[in-house]
Structures are given as C-alpha cells and as structure tokens.
C-alpha cells in the first residue's frame, strides 16, 4: 500500500474530487486536445493568451484520477506564465514523474513523484501538459501520448 499511497497523494485525491478550472473557457483564444489512445483518457485545454502570458486557462475531459488531478493542478500552475516558463515547468514535472525526485522547493507538483513507480501511469500524468503546450504552440491538433516518449 505504501507505493499506492504515494501515487494517490492527498493533493491528487483532492484535485480529482474537486477539479479546479474545469470546463470550457469562454474567452479562450487557444485550444488543444490530448488523447491517450491506450487508456481512452482525454483532455482538452483552453487558454487565453494575453500578449505572451497565459491570461486564463481551463481543462475538460475524462480519465483516471491521475490524469484529471494533474490537469487540474496544471491549470493552477500555468496561469500567468509565458510559454517558455510553461515549458520549463513541464520539464520539471516530467523529471518528477519519471525519476520520483521532487526538489524541496517544488511544492504541489511534487505530489506526482509517486507516479514514477507506476510507469504505465506517466502518460496519464502528462496528458494535460502535452495538450497545454500544444495549445501554446498554436497547434490545435490532437496530442496523443503515444507519439511522446515519456
């Protein structure tokens, strides 16, 4: 159970039960969709770019607790960031979920460190992020996690 408790941290359960920024963002000027074809998880990310910063962001979709909580937490983290900052943060997030090492100064996204013990779930954790980055690139195509090597 200790691995599982690590995977389903309180933060994650909380975001899963009460997702933040969920639903279509009416003012969005960018949108992208992510698919995890093996699982059927789906995630759409809506964002409004104000200049080069993310003015507002939301997500919608269906999937496991990991994918939904990750997308929810992500929206709270990306608001106000530039594309470059978002990419940097995703890099850190990806390191956390693949290695299990969460640097101390990183707080909320560190809750996903437990994912690294469940390699099949890494795709779930990164699904929303991939969609967000695609939206930032202005790339409305479907992001499928199968094309990404994480």
């Amino acid at each position: 159970m200790s691995d599982l408790a690590d995977l389903y941290q309180q933060v994650i359960l909380d975001h899963n039960r009460r997702p933040r920024n969920r639903g279509k963002l009416p003012t969005a000027n960018r949108v992208a969709h992510g698919d995890n074809p093996s699982c059927g998880d789906q995630c759409s990310v809506y964002l409004r770019l104000d200049g080069d910063r993310i003015g507002d962001i939301s997500f919608d979709g269906s999937g496991c607790a990991i994918s939904q909580a990750s997308a929810s937490l992500m929206t709270t983290q990306l608001k106000g960031k530039t594309a470059a900052e978002a990419e940097k943060l995703f890099g850190e997030f990806r390191d956390i979920v693949t290695t299990g090492n969460a640097p101390e100064e990183i707080s909320d996204i560190g809750a996903f460190a437990g994912v690294h013990a469940f390699p099949a779930r890494i795709k779930c954790a990164t699904l929303g992020w991939h969609a967000a980055l695609n939206a930032l690139k202005g790339d409305p195509v479907t992001a499928t996690t199968e094309t990404h090597k994480d």
Binding site: L7, R17, C39, Q42, G63, C64, F118, R121
Partner: protein
C-alpha cells in the same frame, strides 16, 4: 467433472505472488494463461523437430511438416470443420478478419452493396469492414444493441429490415468481449443465408470457452486467436468454407503458395497453402493443437459451466457494491464468463491500479470498443473475465478489493 483445483496446478504462471499477494488473474478476455502441456509442446518442437515445413525431404522437415499439418487437422476437429483445408493459420483473429475483408471484399464488394455488422464489435471486427466498404464504395450498417446498459442484446427485430438482399456480408461477434453477450450465431447465419449474405464470425472470445461446431452454426468464415484459448501468442485461425476459399485470391503473396512463377506472373496452390505465404508459425500451430487437446480433455462444456458459475457469483456480489453500473445481459444463457462495470466517481484505471496492489489482474478501458462505449455514455469500464482456473474465492478477493477502493475514493 474436472477437479478445478488440479487444473490450477497445470498453469505454472498462477503460482506466484504479485505485490506480495497470490496472483488472481482475471484478465482472460485479453489473453489466457498457458498450461504446462502447451509450453512443453513448444519446447519439444524446438528441441527435437524444428525445421522448415513443406519444402523439405529430410527427416526433421518431414517431422515438422507432419506436426504442422497434424495441428491443422487437430484444429479442424476442434471446430468440426469438414476438411483440414478449411483451416488457415494466421497470427490471430485480427489478421484472419483482415484476410477476409481484403480478399473477399476486393473480389465481391461493389458500390451500393451493404456490409452489415453490429454496434458492439471489437475494433478488429469493425475497422477492417470500414476499410473494405470504403475501398468498394459500399455502405457499412449496424444491427443495434438494445437497452441502456446493453442488456437487451442484438435487436433481432431490426434485423428484419436491415438484412436486405443488398447485404453481401454480415460480420458479428460470437461473444462480446465488453458486454459478455452471447449472440445467437446459428440463427444469425440462417437469416443471413436467406438473403444470400456471406457470414463472418468473430469467435475470439468463444472458441476456447464452449463447444463450437462450424457446420452446426452454418457460418462461412470464423476467426479466432490461439492466445485466448490456452495456446501460444502469434497463432490464430481463419476457418473458411472450402467452396468459398477456393474462389478467393491470396491475401499475402510469396514463397509456398505458388504452383508456377515466372518473372512477371504466378499461379496459386489451393487452400490452405494459398493463404499462408512465407514460413508459418510452425511452433505456434503445434502449441495451438496442444491447447485443443488440453481443453477437450477437460471438456469445453464443463469449462462453459464453470465460467457460468463464476459469472453468476460475480454478478450477484458485484451488484451489491454502491454506485456500480454493470453492462451487458443478466447472468444466464446469454451471458459469457466476463463482467464489465463502472463506478460513479472512480475511474477504471484507478480501480485496476488498486486491484493490482492486491495481486488482482483486471482490465480497464474501452476494450477496443470505442463506439460502443460512446453509445452507452461511458468512457471506460473495468472488466473481470474468467476462465477454467479461476475460483469463487478469487471472486471474493475481487469484491473485497473493490470495497477497499470505493472506501478510499469515497466522499
């Protein structure tokens, strides 16, 4: 009655711990485990007889050929085909269906024709027909599924209007891998025949679980996979009525299928060779024959009864769980040994991950059945699928695990 506890001793893989708990393997709809006898058949082949088949006159080659053709005859008997030549070895159900969709589809489908299938086919018995229909300018139509939870099975009344003479081919599953529905295949074949439609049965979920007789069913083609019936991976079967096979062009071409070859042209051997270009999966066929022996020694009727016992117990106990939605028919003659369910507020993947922590192997997802999921308003279900080595105690462990999960994710 076989002693089902002795049966467990035949399967080496079952005697292990997963996450510190004895393995409970309930993912038989995806693939089955292999008895010692099947593994031994592979080892024996590679250690004693391995050689290429058909084209050799030396001792090993003759032994390999005899074993391979013997496997074909064994499989023919397993499904009661009239003739071994009606058994074509493929990689599995998917390849078997593609073979028919391409070879038969290319030769027979024209614009305006209808290919009929059902609303709950596995992607492997759906997409090949989408492709064949598109290539020919034909239309793909679907026999509806009845009931908000798919509990009503195929809409046989709708079949009256759907089965017109425009229908050139009717493809349907014997048992749904998602709903557990057992289709009335003999009746479906009879009705298809009445309008002159060729029938293709996806028997992936049925052939290893209950007696099956292609002549009694009256189908034209029938596809299945070895790996779901205690056989090795990489081997499957397309059964086809001889009269139809002899009129089909080969699907893949190459060595072993030809009578005469010039630089520009080739002529074909009859079935089954015509459809088996290249070196076949010799060991796989031999392992599949060993699986037929194993299942018939136990009795497929007994296996079906065992599956039925388990699914009745499982459905009764699962129904009592809060917020559960079980899809497919009630336990009984129309329900095979598997059960798919969804919980309000807990996603299938989280269920599977938690169950795995308890040593229980389940499957969660769309089960290669995306359009059906959408129709039922679901994105995924959790599936427990049973086979001869499963026990009532394992179902109790499943239920206990699910209770714990519901508590964890509960409000």
């Amino acid at each position: 009655m076989p002693d089902w506890n002795n049966v467990r001793a035949d399967f080496p893989i079952l005697h292990q711990q997963v996450n510190g708990k004895p393995l409970v393997y309930l993912d038989n709809g995806a693939t089955s485990q292999k008895p010692r006898r099947v593994i031994d058949a592979l080892v024996h082949y590679y250690e004693r007889d391995n050689s290429n088949v058909h084209r050799g006159l030396h001792t090993l080659s003759m032994r390999a050929t005899d074993a391979y053709e013997g496997a074909r005859a064994r499989v023919a008997k397993f499904i009661n085909a009239a003739d071994s030549a009606e058994v074509i070895f493929t990689r599995g159900t998917t390849e078997s269906i593609n073979l028919v969709a391409r070879s038969w589809g290319h030769a027979h489908l024209k614009p305006g024709d209808v290919v009929l299938t059902t609303e709950f086919e596995h992607h492997s018995n759906l997409i090949p027909w989408q492709q064949a229909a598109k290539a020919a300018g034909a239309t793909l139509k679907f026999v509806p599924l009845l009931g908000a939870d798919g509990e009503g099975g195929l809409d046989l009344a709708a079949l009256d209007t759907l089965l017109t003479p425009q229908v050139k081919l009717f493809a349907f599953t014997h048992i749904s891998n998602t709903l557990g529905t057992i289709n009335p295949v003999t009746e479906l074949c009879r009705r298809a025949r009445a309008v002159g439609a060729v029938t293709v049965i996806d028997a992936a979920q049925s052939v290893g679980h209950a007696p099956l007789d292609v002549r009694q069913i009256g189908c034209d083609f029938l596809a299945f996979s070895g790996h779901k019936m205690c056989g090795p991976t990489g081997i499957g079967v397309l059964y086809g009525r001889r009269a139809l096979l002899d009129k089909l062009a080969p699907d893949e071409t190459g060595g072993g299928i030809v009578v005469s070859v010039t630089y520009q042209d080739a002529t074909w051997k009859p079935a089954p060779e015509r459809f088996e270009a290249g070196t076949p999966n010799v060991a796989g066929a031999i392992g599949l024959a060993a699986a037929c022996d194993y299942l018939d020694a136990l009795g497929r009727d007994k296996i079906a009864a065992h599956d039925d016992t388990l699914v009745r117990v499982a459905m009764e106990k699962l129904s009592a769980l809060p917020g559960i939605r079980i899809i497919g028919p009630r336990a009984g003659a129309e329900r095979s040994g598997l059960v798919s369910f969804a919980f309000t507020g807990v996603h299938a993947h989280d269920v599977v991950t938690f169950a795995d922590e308890d040593g229980i192997a389940l499957r969660g997802g769309h089960h290669c059945n995306q359009p059906l999921m959408r129709k039922l308003g679901l994105t995924s279900t959790t599936r427990a699928s049973f086979y001869l080595y499963n026990t009532v105690e394992e179902i109790d462990r499943l239920v206990a695990s699910l209770q714990r999960i519901l508590k964890f994710f509960g409000p």
